[in-house]
């Protein structure tokens, strides 16, 4: 599997992402600067976390207009896989590649903490190494992670099974106390209709080695490596 990590000015989690991808795939991902315009030969495009363009205007709004974006959109349109984490998720929504928007956290505070995610479906390239209903720990660090979409969009996402992860309590209950940022219906991550574009706010790439304090996030990358190995 050939993976590329797209780097925008102000992004700061690209190296964590590279470590996670290399651990699972055995290959160093290609770093692609946002001014490039081609993603030829790439199987997985990753938009990492950070604060692209200083979060000016809205988180991800500037990055969504970058020269690399048409290539990311074309990659997705030909059925390529795209993973957007944190700011990457915000960028995907700003680019219209995933529905909804990420609002300021309901409690107004920037949150840097661990959360628990419940896997809502395990039959995707991103979640194949998890079990449906499994709960895993993931660090999160964001000020604008409060997922919002219209009621119709939320109903469609749920009806079509496009919710990948929900914030949960450690035992897997979907309750307000397990939802750190106020996200609608506790949604932490969503999929495109073809299940090949995933956006999520927490950082599974930051729990892939015992030295990081756990390996809860590693199945996401192992699953991707297996699914895209061909």
């Amino acid at each position: 599997m050939k993976a590329a990590i797209v780097v925008f000015p102000g992004i700061n989690r690209e190296r964590d992402m590279a470590i996670a991808l290399e651990l699972s795939t055995g290959h160093k991902p290609k770093m692609v600067w946002h001014k490039e315009t081609s993603l030829d030969g790439i199987d997985l495009v990753v938009i990492p976390g950070g604060f692209s363009f200083g979060d000016y205007l809205r988180c991800g709004a500037m990055a969504a207009q970058s020269p690399i974006m048409p290539a990311i959109r074309a990659h997705a349109e030909r059925g390529g896989h795209v993973l957007g984490v944190c700011n990457g998720f915000q960028i995907l929504t700003e680019a219209g590649m995933l529905p909804g928007a990420l609002l300021r956290n309901a409690g107004l505070r920037f949150l840097s903490m661990d959360c628990h995610l419940r896997v809502e479906r395990a039959d995707t390239a991103f979640t194949g190494d998890y079990q449906r209903g499994q709960v895993f720990r993931a660090p999160l660090a964001h000020g604008d992670g409060n997922y919002f979409a219209s009621t119709e969009t939320l109903d469609r996402l749920e009806g079509e099974g496009l919710v990948a992860f929900r914030y949960a309590t450690p035992d897997g209950a979907i309750l307000p106390e397990g939802n750190p940022n106020g996200s609608a219906r506790s949604i932490a991550g969503i999929l495109s209709p073809n299940l090949r574009v995933l956006g999520l706010m927490p950082h599974p790439e930051d729990l892939v080695d015992p030295l990081m304090g756990g390996t809860d996030g590693k199945p996401l990358f192992d699953g991707l490596a297996a699914a895209l190995a061909a």
């Binding site: 205007l57 809205r58 709004a61 609002l103 300021r104 309901a106 107004l108 919002f148 219209s150």
Partner: protein
């Protein structure tokens, strides 16, 4: 040259925690009777276009494409 003022606000029904916090702080300061508080953005644009209608159309396109996220925000354009 034409000046356009684009005002971007969160749509009704979209939670505005900043507005809520400001409303709360105003109450703490002793201002009574403050209801809903909403926070938005004002963006001032200098446009080379001199025809007001064309300038408005241009600013509205900018609003739709970048200045506002229509999933959560609405905007209005004033030509001054």
């Amino acid at each position: 040259m034409t000046k356009a003022i684009v005002t971007v606000m969160l749509k009704d029904g979209v939670l505005d925690p900043q507005g809520k916090a400001i409303g709360h702080a105003l109450g703490t300061l002793g201002f009574a009777g403050v209801g809903d508080v909403r926070v938005g953005k004002r963006i001032e644009l200098e446009l080379a276009e001199t025809d007001p209608a064309a300038a408005r159309a241009q600013a509205e396109e900018m609003g739709r494409k970048l200045l506002a996220n229509l999933v959560i925000e609405s905007f209005k354009v004033e030509i001054v």
